[in-house]
Amino acid sequence: MGAFKKFAVAALALGGAGAATLWWLALPERLGPDAVAALGAGDAARGQRIFDTGGCASCHAKPKSEGDARLQLAGGLELKTAYGTFVAPNISTDPNDGIGGWSLEDFANAMLKGVSRDGQHLYPAFPYASYARMKPAEVADIYAFMKTLPPVAGRAPSHTLAFPFNVRSGIGLWKLFYLSDQPVIAFADGTPEKVLRGRDLVEGAGHCGECHTPRGFDGGTRKGQWLAGAAAAEGQGIVPNITPQGTGISGWSESDIASYLETGFTPEFDSVGGTMVEVQKNMARLSAEDREAIAAYLKAIPPHPNGYPAPQPKPAG
């Protein structure tokens, strides 16, 4: 949040020009000229790594696609949440139904600011609250890679959301609290490069916190319980605590974590399950160094107790 906007929030609190200020604060904010210049040219080969880290295909390819079909980004996956059903849109290079007509600047505004080409707020089901922490060059790289993918015709259905979540201007206020390009975990000087590389992957493109961190009533992630595990946003069950505390992976070594991301087997030789199956397939495409960096970061972050309620007592018998 810029200094001017902070001032505006203060003015609002003082009972200034209430409604008008609120309206103005909720306006979609695009990247400034400096940020656009920082994007650079982009490199498709580097972009593939970011594309896999983000798992873009897991939501934007047609559900259950395998092989080359995973690179046909026609959308259509439904996310059934408490707010309503979000549908992943077509982000293929089709100029009419996809984003083939978007410039790098348009794309970067979506990734880093959550603003569509026509200037609308995007819903944070598209995890730009994480992508906002990506480096500008990474955004240019992923754009260059996605330009190499085939166009696919056909629009995915619209979201079906309940009031008040169907009012997009509300997202503008949400962004004042939850959209930031700053890292979640600040590390001291001299922190190993490996940990910082892991931070870029986990907090940025990998958007691990979107499922592994509990959310407040307003849908924002609680940074004080970063990666502490959460009730699943879809359906039943929980998403495990991946900090060095609690009942998730606190007993795992760095090599256990890296090996799980590569093979899908836990140290007890149980297998990956749920929505993590797709994530693990994506992580298996990264380099061993990247998986080790993720593991190093997860061992370096602050420990937290589980971020979801304890299970109900077992029924008798």
């Binding site: 929980i238 495990p240 093979t263 087997f265 030789f269 399950g273 749920g274 304890a310 077992k314 029924p315």
Partner: protein
């Protein structure tokens, strides 16, 4: 009336107890699968040396265990309640679940028929088995706290 209530209570207790056994039994099957797969994964990770005889022994034990899985007996209706991570989807989509179980049986049977003779082959074989675990656990298991 009192006798009737007691009978109903006893019946209810008996059926939950029965499901508790079903749940414990099927979890034991999964634990045993993990133990055999563990022998193979340790070789893939380089924690133990490749040993063709041990590979065949683990694959055989795994396959014997997997062929015994009987969906009707191990996943009766109502056994989604209790201390279990079985997803209700097992009973919402019984044909889909049966197809996953059948695929698992086919994968372990063909692995026993052509057991890996070197480490690279073992990596591929463990990869196939692991993916079979994963696709079923993706759809039909729910992690609980």
């Amino acid at each position: 009336m009192r006798k009737f209530v007691l009978a109903v209570a006893a019946l209810a207790l008996a059926s939950t107890a029965a499901f508790a056994d079903v749940i414990t039994d099927r979890q034991a099957v999964m634990k045993e699968n993990a133990r055999q797969v563990g022998t193979l994964v340790k070789m893939v990770k380089g924690e133990s040396a490749f040993d063709a005889a041990a590979v065949l022994a683990a694959l055989t034990a795994l396959n014997d265990n997997v062929q015994k899985i009987d969906v009707a007996a191990s996943f009766p209706v109502g056994s989604d309640k209790g201390d279990t991570t079985a997803s209700p989807k097992i009973w919402e989509d019984p044909a889909g679940f049966q197809a996953e179980v059948d695929k698992f049986k086919a994968v372990t049977a063909s692995a026993v028929g052509a057991p890996a003779q070197d480490l690279d082959a073992l990596k591929a074989q463990v990869g196939t088995i692991g993916q079979t675990c994963g696709t079923c656990h993706e759809a039909f298991r729910v992690k609980k706290g």
